[in-house]
């Protein structure tokens, strides 16, 4: 299947202030990896925390979900529906998360998110996901699940 990886990020329904996916590096039917740069200008650093900016854990989960679930889910849905020649609602919603955190992410950090498919059945995608910094140090890992079209 011919598909631009940039196209996946353009499919995400988020504006600049809540888009946490810069680039999809690699993808196939079993896994995905992508990057995001937590640049210093992101607005939540002004208040999280005052005088000590650090990326909120919920934003790290969101970043993992945008790359590891939403982009991956769009790709897998498109593959499945092209095979069946049917239309698809490509919006994915996070339905479950179980994440552990190991290192803080300070402004200016570029992270890499990698997700491995556990299953994609009946419109539900469940993945094992991890986020690492540029040095390859683990930031967080866990499982996420999302549903298509809810």
């Amino acid at each position: 299947m011919e598909q631009s990886l940039e196209y996946l990020i353009k499919q995400l329904p988020y504006g600049d202030g809540f888009l946490f996916a810069d680039e999809i590096l690699a993808i196939d039917s079993e896994q995905i990896s992508g990057e995001f740069h937590f640049h210093k200008g992101l607005n939540f650093y002004e208040s999280h925390f005052q005088d000590h900016p650090v990326t909120p854990g919920v934003i790290l989960i969101e970043c993992c979900a945008q790359i590891g679930l939403a982009c991956f889910g769009i790709y897998l849905s498109t593959m499945a529906h092209e095979a069946q020649k049917t239309e698809t609602n490509q919006a994915f919603a996070l339905v479950a998360s179980d994440m552990e955190f190991f290192s803080p992410v300070y402004p200016g950090t570029k992270v890499r998110v990698s997700a491995q498919k556990e299953y994609f059945r009946f419109g539900k995608l469940k993945v094992k996901v991890k986020m690492e910094n540029e040095k390859g140090e683990l930031i967080c890992k866990g499982t996420l699940a999302g549903m298509r079209g809810i």
């Binding site: 339905v95 059945r121 539900k124 809810i150």
Partner: protein, 86 residues
């Protein structure tokens, strides 16, 4: 339908996905899985995957959509097991 050979097994498979405010005692053969037992769509997928594992069968998307009640699920299991035997 409560004397169906797979009723108690299915009941046990459903139990973990019931919300806290829905008692397993309220489960009846004609209980609608979503509107009466309040199993959400994500958990319904997990339940179907558990049924597949339990009986070594595979359900299709259209079959899951037809699985509205406990009885529907039992019929589906019966049909799949019969198809497996033949």
């Amino acid at each position: 339908m409560k004397d169906h050979p797979h009723y108690n097994t299915l009941r046990e498979l459903i139990a973990p996905y019931l919300p806290e405010d829905v008692s397993l005692d309220s489960l009846q053969p004609d209980s609608n899985l979503i509107s009466e037992l309040n199993i959400n769509s994500s958990h319904l997928v997990d339940l179907v995957l558990d049924i597949e594992d339990q009986y070594d069968i595979r359900l299709e998307d259209t079959e899951m959509q037809q699985m509205q009640t406990v009885t529907d699920a039992l019929h589906l299991i019966d049909n799949k097991l019969k198809a497996k035997e033949s």
